[in-house]
């Protein structure tokens, strides 16, 4: 499936100029600072912003053309907004069923029972909307969008109005969504950690323009990636969770590489998931130190060394299964150890976060 958008919009000093052709599979993240035009682009895709002369095509369907405009209610798009947008005069159940009832029977792929179970909202169905917490509301909104069995799911910063705790509660649902519901997702966000957790592909936007569109792997392989602006460089390792914990830690396997991660016991074994590792939490050693509190020692090979900020450098290394792991160390340390491309070292990982 692919989405192509061509739109030009000039309004109150804001200039949006977009011409993109996007393969849609899994989660595509539209990333950029506030005011860069990502929400406007999302609204053009949805048909909420009617920009003259714009072209929007989804797969074989022309949503907006020269003489054609398909209104939102016939585009079969699921929309989830930043702030709570449940219809206040309806219960959670009636909100969930509002779209379901308006979806022709032959299009219905998801039903109330399974969606309620997937999002863990079965117990909330008969509550009025004002008696739901922020996180519950956002889950009901997601469920409501899914129950229209949409061809495309547009999420406009669905987590940014939630506190950290609630965010943590919803993230797992979001990361399972695309796979389980089988719907391509476009996620608008300005938070790098959401991209790293959820996205398969990233579209970078700046000042109303698309800077580049690449896979998450490519986006994380550039030392100058905009994703690194806040917290510094980050690596994402993909793998699966092993069985049985040991003192609160569970094994995580990525090919022949194994790490110990803090994970709840109720997470199913074998589920594929991601680890998020900050480059500054990774140290490098020429030998494998035995008597040290750091649990995760990974044999890696240095691929390249790039100067970073403040007399530090970013060392790109490859794990034994070929995944990229970044380490941020000082120039001095790099010179002392004689680090260079091709040198095998041990990456000592001080902390990892299991995401999605």
């Amino acid at each position: 499936m692919s989405l192509s958008v061509r739109a030009h919009l000039k309004r109150d000093g804001f200039d949006l100029d977009v011409d993109m052709d996007l393969p849609l599979e899994g989660v595509t993240s539209l990333f950029g600072r506030s005011g860069c035009g990502k929400t406007t682009l999302l609204r053009i895709i949805a048909g909420l912003e009617k920009v003259r002369g714009a072209h929007v095509r989804f797969g074989g369907q022309v949503w907006q053309g020269d003489r054609q405009f398909v209104p939102l209610h016939r585009r079969r798009i699921g929309l989830v907004f930043q702030e709570h947008s449940l219809l206040p005069h309806l219960t959670a159940r009636d909100n969930l069923l509002y779209g379901y009832r308006r979806t022709p029977k032959q299009h219905r792929r998801l039903h109330l029972g399974e969606v309620a179970e997937m999002l863990d909202i079965s117990a909330l169905l008969d509550r009025p909307v004002d008696r739901l917490s922020g996180g519950q509301r956002q889950r009901v909104s997601l469920g409501r969008a899914l129950l229209t069995s949409p061809q495309l799911l547009l999420l406009d910063e669905p987590l940014s109005a939630l506190d950290t705790q609630t965010k943590r509660e919803i993230m797992p649902f979001l990361s399972r969504l695309s796979g389980e519901a089988g719907v391509p997702i476009i996620l608008v966000t300005h938070a790098p950690d959401e991209v790293e957790r959820l996205a398969d592909r990233v579209v970078f936007m700046r000042d109303g323009r698309i800077e580049r569109s690449e896979s998450l792997k490519q986006a994380l392989a550039r030392p100058d990636s905009p994703l690194f602006a806040d917290e510094g460089a980050v690596s994402v390792l993909e793998g699966s969770l092993g069985e049985t914990g040991e003192r609160g830690l569970r094994p995580f396997a990525a090919g022949t590489t194994q790490l110990w991660v803090g994970a709840a016991d109720d997470l199913p074994t074998g589920r594929s998931c991601r680890l998020r590792i900050l480059a500054r939490d990774v140290s490098l050693a020429l030998d494998d130190p035995r008597r040290i509190s750091i649990q995760n020692h990974l044999p890696v090979t240095i691929e390249r060394i790039d100067p970073f900020r403040d007399h530090r450098c970013l060392v790109s290394t490859r794990t034994t299964d070929g995944q990229l792991l970044l380490a941020e160390i000082t120039m001095r340390a790099s010179a002392q150890l004689g680090l260079a491309p091709g040198v095998p070292v041990y990456a000592l990982v001080k902390s990892v976060a299991l995401v999605g």
Partner: protein, 228 residues
């Protein structure tokens, strides 16, 4: 027992018919106007807003005078009707109905505009994304969520039409059963030094208007609470 004569009853009947029709017509006309006014700001909208509010500041005689000219036998509308073999609209019930609709317009448009502004566009966008078409959205989202605005608009329109005098006197004259409404009849009674009758009708209007406004204001309070 009420002491009302047949003339009084006739005026009451004309008045309530006028109020009812005006209210129904205005709800239909004012809803799209208010929706459009609440959906953004532009020079066109400001102009329409000003035109709609004109009856609030114009002397009723001014409005009545222009309507008399336009709807009368030599006016644009009245003349056209005459040319088509119909009757012009001055001194008719239809004439004062048109006048009432214009004169009470702000009392329907303003509460609805405010209700739509408070509603915002988000619930409507949500409903569209869930597959609801325009009529469906109006009936299942807009109407239930702005019902307070509709009640206020209807009540104020009704009450304001009840209190009309100048416009009707200018355009409708005082034809029993056709254009003689309560306010005009009270004027006639007073002119004829018929103070008892004037008193009875005045008191009736006073009490009725008070009760109506009391209901409206208690409802706006309730709806405001319910919105939060």
């Amino acid at each position: 027992m009420t002491g009302l004569g047949p003339e009084d009853w006739q005026a009451i009947e004309v008045t309530f018919r006028l109020c009812l029709y005006t209210t129904l017509i205005l709800l239909v006309i004012a809803t799209p106007i208010a929706w459009w006014l609440s959906s953004g700001r532009s020079a066109g909208r400001v102009a329409v807003q000003a035109v709609v509010a004109l009856p609030l500041v114009l002397p009723p005689t001014v409005l009545g005078f222009y309507l008399l000219i336009v709807l009368g036998p030599r006016g644009f509308v009245g003349g056209t009707l005459e040319a088509m073999g119909l009757h012009h609209l001055a001194f008719t019930f239809e004439g004062i109905l048109i006048a009432s609709v214009i004169y009470s317009m702000p009392f329907a448009v303003q509460p609805l505009t405010e209700a739509f502004n408070n509603l915002g566009r988000r619930p409507v966008e949500v409903a569209s994304s869930l597959g609801a078409n325009a009529v469906d959205r109006f009936l299942t989202v807009i109407l239930p969520l702005t019902r307070g605005g509709f009640v206020v608009a209807a009540t104020l329109t009704f009450a304001h039409t009840l209190g009309e005098f100048g416009v009707i006197l200018m355009l409708g004259g005082s034809i029993p059963g056709e254009t003689k409404v309560l306010s005009v009849l009270i004027y006639d009674h007073t002119e004829a030094m018929n103070y008892d009758s004037a008193h009875r009708l005045s008191l009736m209007l006073l009490i009725f208007s008070f009760i109506t406004l009391f209901i409206v204001y208690s409802m706006t309070r309730r709806f405001r609470v319910a919105r939060v």
